[in-house]
């Protein structure tokens, strides 16, 4: 045992001098308890595969969650972790991250956890650009409490608390994050492990707050209709002439490439040169947008996020925005360092102040 003295000052632990961590190193013995077929299984196994590849030792990884089916995830990862209270995970994670820049801090949250009860903490973590990797497991429903409509449920969602259909408009998590000034915003989907892995890897590499919405199927309360896996060569049985038909599958956003979709890439996202607005056009149109998540101004990413709501069956997946800005953690540590150029100030000097006097008794 040693005292805590000075411990937090320098990076502790570290994988140096040890063998590279493996999937097993990130796996706990705790029995995984999600419904069969739940999208959370795929997300967990992706995380187990991804974390060793990031080269951060398990002990330098902290996973913080709120409450919900999704928020059980930290129990299954053999890192440090907190399964906290409903909606508040970003606040605990902020306290850890800004004090310990040596740690890699992840937040796992659900659509109810992050966007209903915890909406306030989410937007503030994003605006501050705290160095957190926030995985928002969006199943468009409250899973753990048995199927009530969530802030991402479509209008008309039937559930035990909305037997005649929900009335409230859903949030678009991507648009919300962009509005909060997030520096990294992405969307991916549980059924596409390659896309999931690539997106989370990009998020992990980002310095600052990274929000990744992971569309997740909840077969028990809110299944996402299975999409053709085009990466595996599957095509939809009857490709329609309607670009907003579901069988096209989600548009995949790739930096530097034109945004086109459909089996023959016959559709594309075009920009009206006079208004700057985005719309759906033909794949061969010269106005097809070339995706650039690095655009400082988030108007483009926002328009892209909004377009999906009105004109597409499925929202595009990929990185919407990735720009660099100093993280709150870095600014916080710099502020501390400048405040004590010669180390910690003398306590007695502080206590005595400049206005003390001596009393002979």
């Amino acid at each position: 045992m040693s005292t805590v003295n000075g411990k937090a000052e320098e990076p502790v632990g570290g994988a140096s001098g040890r063998r590279a961590p493996t999937v097993a190193d990130f796996t706990t013995g705790q029995e995984v308890r999600w419904c069969p077929g739940c999208g959370d299984h795929a997300i967990l196994s992706t995380m187990r595969g991804l974390l060793p590849a990031l080269g951060v030792a398990p002990e330098n990884t902290v996973v913080v969650s709120g409450i919900g089916c999704s928020s059980r995830l930290p129990y299954y990862l053999d890192t440090y972790g907190i399964h906290s209270i409903h909606g508040r995970a970003p606040s605990f994670a902020t306290g850890i991250s800004i004090n310990r820049p040596d740690l890699s801090v992840w937040v796992v949250t659900g659509d109810g956890d992050a966007l209903a009860i915890g909406g306030n903490h989410l937007i503030h973590a994003l605006r501050r650009n705290v160095n957190l990797k926030i995985l928002l497991l969006n199943n468009h429903i409250y899973g753990l409490t048995k199927g009530q409509a969530s802030p991402t449920s479509k209008v008309g969602t039937i559930g035990p608390s909305s037997p005649f259909g929900s009335l409230d408009n859903p949030f678009n998590p991507i648009a919300l994050a962009l509005g909060a000034g997030a520096t990294f915003v992405a969307r991916t989907i549980d059924t596409d492990r390659r896309h999931l892995t690539a997106t989370l890897t990009a998020a992990a590499a980002h310095k600052g707050a990274a929000l990744v919405e992971i569309r997740q199927g909840c077969p028990t309360f809110s299944a996402i209709p299975r999409q053709p896996n085009r990466a595996a060569g599957e095509t939809s049985p009857a490709e329609s002439d309607d670009p907003s038909a579901p069988e096209h599958g989600p548009i995949r956003l790739s930096p530097g490439l034109p945004i086109v979709f459909g089996a023959k890439e016959q559709w594309g996202i075009v920009r009206d040169p006079s208004t700057g607005e985005l719309g759906i056009g033909h794949g061969g149109d010269s106005r097809v947008v070339v995706h650039d998540p690095g655009t400082q101004n988030s108007t483009y990413a926002y328009a892209l996020a909004r377009l999906a709501e009105t004109s597409l069956a499925e929202p595009p997946i990929g990185v919407y925005r990735s720009v660099s800005a100093p993280s709150f953690d870095q600014l916080y540590q710099e502020r501390l360092a400048t405040a004590r150029p010669d180390g910690r100030g003398d306590l007695r000097t502080l206590l005595k102040g400049t206005d003390s006097w001596t009393h002979a008794g």
């Binding site: 705790q30 030792a57 972790g81 902020t94 306290g95 306030n120 206590l351 206005d355 006097w357």
Partner: protein, 681 residues
């Protein structure tokens, strides 16, 4: 005139043992600064000082109205004092509203200094005076000095090319200079202070210094005052002293605690009166390795503090009642995760926004019980401004040693009040550091070394803490019930029962010092018949009241609870030595109820919730009545009414109500639980 000459004590000053002075003016008149500086000057010459700032909840209530009056009362003495005094001897009134709001509390024969510049037709009208009090004879009982403070101040600063309005604003410094002269106080410290405070505004700086000096010179030259007074130094124990405000003392106590634990201090907070000042103080101390974070709300503030604790900091959050309510869920999490954390609640008048700038002790039950589930948590209370330092260190000691959140209760009276504080030598401070886990502390079924985050120290029942970054000790904690030892999620009924009892035992077993009784007439059982017990900021008024009662030849004992959860082990045996235990509280009997629950001893309550501390005279008369009630009992003059009998209580209440004098802020208002007529158990 050189400063040195200014500072010489006037010849032939009349010696006073103590004096109570109240500066009152409009919220914009700088009365808080004026009072604060006068207190600092008095402390610096060695007086004992106790202060009571009082200001409206609005930043600027309508100027010139009674609602907008801000005041600052000081008690300075040549002996040990514990309260800011009941009645001012001197009132400085910067406008008619300040006079109106405060004159009723002035001692008959007391001195009034008022700014005639503000006594215009309009000024009188705003204050709600139909007739000019300066001419209608209503102030005949006092020694009134009407002086054009604004006019003299403006003239004194005429050379500093300030705008008219700004020039007039130096009137508070003119008044301070005058009162400083009157009480033979040197003003160098204040000059130095003004230099620092207005360093970036040389004109304002120079003008304030000029006004201050002009006030002093006016006193000397005008011969308007027949007497100059002097309060000699008080015989305080030898040492280095500082004039200390309660909020600052708590902040410094937290910094010292982190220092003595060898950990960085991490504060997560959201602004709220009257706790914000602790956030402000700590935010300025990055150079002492204090990390502060202003969160988006109180929930995030405690969340960040818990995160900080988990990551190896001394986590702290500060707030007041409404914020405390928001933190309740996270407190439960800290209880079950068994992490060190200090939660400071600077209480104010409730419920809801209540009286946000006034004092009250009405969050005690919230602190003790205010969580769902069985969530025991130590509760400690600060008793005076200077005590904030020790109380904060004690809270941190318990939090660290027992790995538990600890609630530290202060209140608005302590927060804003000030008194001399002996600056401790670092060597006097206890070492409160803890060992962090660095190695596995158990083996699994196959005999492999493992980390058991919920194995416990056999004596303290504290669990080991392993902070992120420690190799081999990765583990998850959270709000779900944990299996004993392993900390794995467990829904086992017997385990849950065991864990609940274990967490309770850990808190029950915290080592707290025994309750001490102050009674010059003898130890419990052979001294006084009446014990007055309090917690928090009533320490001062109760102590002064007991002294007063003793000075009148009666016997009374005083005890004060710093530790409310857990209570001192000898509490019940001490209380049972007294015929009557009196519990004055600024609530409707929260400690009294808690004591009954914990000791089965009935007490007699004396309760008020006026947003102001108890007055010494008020408490002294209550104590006297209780003592006399016992004597009557002994003589068989009064039958004993059973305590707890609702009818008897109602009767006592209405009798007390009937006896209540006309509503007047300075009068004792007997309230519910006024059992002075049912003395005895």
């Amino acid at each position: 005139m050189p400063t040195e000459q200014l500072s010489e004590r006037p010849e032939g000053a009349r010696r006073l043992e103590n004096v109570v002075i109240r500066f009152a003016g409009d919220s914009g008149d700088g009365m808080q600064l004026t009072g604060d500086r006068f207190g600092a000057q008095a402390a610096a010459i060695g007086n004992d000082v106790a202060t009571l700032p009082n200001y409206p909840a609005e930043i600027r209530a309508p100027a010139g109205t009674v609602a907008g009056v801000s005041s600052y009362q000081l008690h300075i003495a040549d002996h040990d004092i514990r309260t800011p005094g009941d009645q001012p001897d001197v009132l400085v009134a910067m406008n008619p509203a300040a006079l109106k709001a405060n004159v009723a509390e002035l001692r008959p024969g007391g001195v009034i200094i008022l700014d005639t510049d503000a006594f215009t037709v309009l000024g009188l009208e705003k204050a709600g005076y139909d007739v000019d009090p300066l001419t209608d004879g209503s102030l005949d009982a006092f020694q009134v000095h009407g002086i054009n403070l604004t006019g003299f101040a403006a003239a004194a600063v005429a050379d500093h090319n300030l705008k008219r309005k700004d020039a007039a604003r130096t009137k508070n410094m003119f008044a301070l200079g005058l009162v400083s002269w009157m009480f033979s106080q040197p003003i160098e410290d204040t000059i130095a202070y003004l230099h620092k405070r207005f360093a970036s505004k040389p004109d304002v700086q120079a003008a304030n210094v000029s006004a201050l000096r002009a006030g002093w010179i006016y006193g000397e030259a005008s011969e308007a005052f027949a007497n100059v007074y002097e309060v000699k130094p008080a015989p305080l124990p030898a040492g280095t002293y500082r004039h200390m405000k309660g909020n600052k003392a708590v902040a410094y106590g937290l910094v010292a605690a982190a220092h003595q634990a060898g950990m960085p201090l991490f504060l997560g907070a959201y602004p709220i009166t009257p706790a914000s000042e602790i956030l402000h103080e700590l935010s300025a101390l990055a150079s002492n390795d204090v990390r502060s974070f202003q969160a988006e709300d109180e929930i995030a503030a405690i969340g960040a503090a818990i995160g900080g604790s988990y990551a190896g900091m001394l986590g702290v959050t500060v707030t007041s009642g409404p914020g405390m309510a928001l933190k309740a869920e996270a407190l439960g999490l800290a209880v079950i995760m068994e992490l060190p954390l200090v939660i400071v609640n600077v209480q104010r008048g409730g419920p809801s926004t209540g009286l946000p700038t006034k004092t009250e002790q009405s969050d005690l039950l919230q602190a003790i019980y205010g969580r769902h589930g069985e969530a025991p948590m130590p509760v400690i209370a600060v008793r005076s401004a200077a005590d904030g330092f020790d109380a904060a260190m004690e809270a941190a000691r318990i939090a660290l040693a027992y790995r538990t959140p600890v609630i530290l209760l202060s209140d608005a009276y302590i927060a804003n009040g000030s008194e001399p504080w002996r600056v401790p030598e670092i060597e006097e401070l206890p070492f409160i550091g803890i060992d962090l886990a660095t190695e596995p502390n158990g083996v699994d079924a196959e005999g492999n070394p493992v980390f058991l985050p919920y194995a416990r120290d056999p004596i303290t029942l504290a669990r080991p803490l392993a902070i992120p970054g420690t190799p081999g000790l990765t583990h998850r904690i959270g709000g779900l019930e944990k299996a004993d030892l392993t900390g794995a999620v467990s829904y086992d009924p017997d385990n849950h029962d065991l864990m609940i009892r274990t967490r309770q035992s850990k808190i029950d077993g915290i080592d707290v010092p025994p309750l001490e009784v102050e009674d010059p007439s003898g130890p419990p059982g052979s001294g006084a018949d009446v014990l007055v017990i309090g917690w928090g900021s009533t320490w001062g008024p109760i102590g002064e009241a007991c002294r007063q009662v003793r000075a009148e030849g009666m016997k009374v004992a005083q005890a004060h609870l710093r530790h409310i959860v857990p209570l001192p082990a000898n509490l019940a045996s001490v209380l049972s030595e007294y015929h009557t235990v009196l519990v004055p509280e600024m609530n409707l009997g929260q400690l009294a109820g808690h004591l009954r629950r914990e000791t089965l001893i009935d007490t007699v309550g004396y309760n008020q919730t006026r947003g102001m501390p108890f007055r010494t005279a008020e408490l002294a008369s209550v104590i006297t009545r209780v003592i006399q009630g016992i004597d009557e009992d002994a003589a068989g003059a009064a039958g004993t009414k059973p305590v707890g009998d609702v009818g008897a209580r109602r009767a006592a209440l209405s009798e007390a109500g009937a006896a209540k004098p006309a509503a007047h802020a300075g009068t004792a208002t007997a309230t519910q639980h006024d059992g002075t007529r049912e003395a005895g158990r």
